[in-house]
Every structure is written in structure tokens, then in C-alpha cells.
Symmetry: C2
Amino acid sequence: MEQINNIQVVPCTSSNYLRPFRVHYNQNGTKKSWDFMQTHDSVSVLIFNTTSHCFILVKQFRPAVYMSEWERSKAKPLQPSEEESAEATPAEPKVPEEDKAGETSEGTSSHQPPASAGVTYELCAGLVDKPNLSLEEIARQEVLEECGYDVPVTKLRKITSYRSGVGVTGSKQTMFYAEVSDENRVGEGGGKPQEGELIEVVKVPLNEAMTFAFDESIPKTMGVIFSFIWFHSNMSPKYKISTNV
Amino acid sequence: MEQINNIQVVPCTSSNYLRPFRVHYNQNGTKKSWDFMQTHDSVSVLIFNTTSHCFILVKQFRPAVYMSEWERSKAKPLQPSEEESAEATPAEPKVPEEDKAGETSEGTSSHQPPASAGVTYELCAGLVDKPNLSLEEIARQEVLEECGYDVPVTKLRKITSYRSGVGVTGSKQTMFYAEVSDENRVGEGGGKPQEGELIEVVKVPLNEAMTFAFDESIPKTMGVIFSFIWFHSNMSPKYKISTNV
């Protein structure tokens, strides 16, 4: 689906998105320090379309996932199937030297993985970066912008909240559940192209959901897997979901 | 439980743990760039003790979570309950100026939250940073080091894998399930104090697990919630788990 090429990796000395801080503190009398990053909290929404009995997910190319896959592929011999499925132009990336620390020389290959290796399936989600809006209102906006469904705030049900990236960001994520119907569809979704977003809306039929969730060849977030299994535990027998996991 | 004080936050110009990179690339002909960080993949283990019918979790003070809670507390008026439960010495942290961008002046308070705000419940977990060991062997080591159970690799069952921090790190996490008994307990666990780890092993009884999972006042990772609900879906009726969620 995606054509990814001309990849160059450079050290990032100053970023508007990644801002590392160091905290010094005393824990039970012992001096410690820890490097962390400040990020926004976030919301995510499990969307279930009651007309088509499908879950609505988003799918997008994630550079961080792609680079992580590439790094992992260097550590093991190249598989023939990877070569066949390559969609992107093989090009040697410029990776800083320190980046190569810890790499095993045996079986190392810098072959570029296919673009699909960086495409992940995720719940509709967004950052909590508008101080005047409630979490529900932010979630509602994301459902509209990314997936094209206009769902009233009152139809958003909180599933739960939890801490993410506890070693690095420690931000709080809140997950909602929203039932929508084809009548709520007012647009195409797809995110904000002017902000560089290139999001594809995908439907996962209810009866394929658990197979999808546990198919490790489909890159996805834990939010997708957790919310599907939550639906199974909490929404059946209202909606039936097959479980052949 | 924890005494946290003398907190100082400084910008982090160079870190062995957080190394930001920038990737430039072409996506479908459009030039783009993205800031990301390289991290290791990780493993986590849902441990179930068949003798006591308890889940075995770890609990530790997470500076990143604590700082995130503190930041959030500045945006809303202080609640009396927070003041009463404060365990740590209230001290004004040195926060760089740019850190304060986007903060609302209304209701801002830099009151230090209690240390407990940074203590999270997590699955036993560890980084995949030993190239010669399999994921199962790394998981086994973590179960021994953090929780004190010696469990053979053959008893580790893979639950699934998924991508985490898709915007920033995109690393791959693999989750295992391990059944242990009191007979497998060979030590206290607690992590490696020489590496600064201060980990408490906690037991969550099976019949309290779902209430624990969805109690938002207990800070925890999504891995805990997901794995408990996975257990409920996959291990019952072998083991009964009450569900009053």
C-alpha cells in the first residue's frame, strides 16, 4: 500500500516532540536519577459499527515501528519471503555509528524491510492536548477526524485507564467504547492531511476479530487486542463473537 | 511505602537510555520526517501461582509516571485528599522554563503528589538485550530475578506479541503466561539492587483480579489488565475467576 523510500536516519539534537529530562531524587534515603520524556496523555476508542457488525480501526505507516523492524532484521539472516514482498526501494540508510553498538556481526543484514513492516493497526486515538476539552470531547473529535463518524459524547463509555511507557513517559491513557451505525458516518475520516496524517480506516468483522487479534503477522497495538477481548467478555451475548484462539 | 524527596528536574542533553533520532523519508512521493527513539524489545510474563491461586505482579516507583502525575496535578485545583495522603516532603522542583509551555495559569499548583502516585503495578518484565538468549530464556530470567520463581522454559506459554509506543519507539513486546507453584519459589525476587532496582513482589488473589484490573485508583499497565482478562477468557473453567466488572 505504501511506497517508502529515500530513508535517511540522523541524530536528533533538538526535537519539538521528544524532549528528554533527567530527574534526580532521593528514594528511601538513596540518591537516584532517571531519564524520562514528557508527553501528553492520550485517549483511544474501540468503535463498533452496529450496522455492519464490524470494529472500526485505523491503519497507518509508523516510522518508529518501521525503524524498529529494520533494526531487528539486521540481527538475523534475511528470509527469502522478505525480499519478495519488498515494496520499497532498497537503499542503504545513513545510520550513526553509535547506533550500531551491540549489533552482532554474524548474520547482519541492512536489507530494508517492506513498507508494510511499519504499517500498524490501532484503535482510533489522539493526544490530550486541548486543556479546555474533556477526555470524552477529545475522543469524539478523533472518531470524527480519523474515522468519519459523528458520535455524541453521551454515547462514549469509558472502559478503563492505565499507564503507558512506564519507563520513559508514564503518561495516562484512557480507553473508551463507542457504538456507531452507518447513519453516524458523515465523512471519510483519514486524519488531517495538512498535519501529515495519512490514516486508512479499516473494518474488522466481528466474527474475525479474535483471529485478527491474535494473528502476530498483523502488526498491532495491545489496545486492539485488549479491547477486542474486553468486548468479548462484556458485550456478549448482546453481540456474538467467535473465539477460536 | 516509598519516601521520595529532593526532587530536581533538569534538561537531559545526553542520555544512555533515551537516544532520539530523526528519520527522513519519502511516503508515496511526499517528503516527511519523524523523530523516534531506539529501544530494546521486551518480554512480559503473567505469572499464576497454582498453590495460592494468586497472580504474581511487581510493583515499583516509576519516576516517569510520577513526573507525569505531577504535571497533570498542576493543571487542576488541588484536592484536599491529595494533601492528606502526601508522604513525601513538599519541595519545589526545578523545572526548565520550556517545560511550562502550554500550562494553564488558572488553578495551577506545583504541589508535589504523594510518592504512591508514581508506584505502578506491572507484569514481571524485562528488556530483550541479550542477543544470545531466546525470548523464553530472557522471560525465565526475569521471573527468577524479579519474583524469585525458578520456572523451566518449557512451562512458558506465549500469549501474543504486539507493538508498543508506536509513535516513539515502536518496539515489539512479547507476552508469556507461566504457571508456578510454591515449590518453584527459590528466592525473594526484588530485581537487582546493584542496578538500582527496587521491586516489590505482590500477590493478587484470583477472585479479586478483575476488580483489581478495572480499579482506576490503582496505577497499572495495560499489560496487567489485558492479561487478567485473557486469563479469564482462556483459563476458565480450569480456574474460576469472578467477574463483577
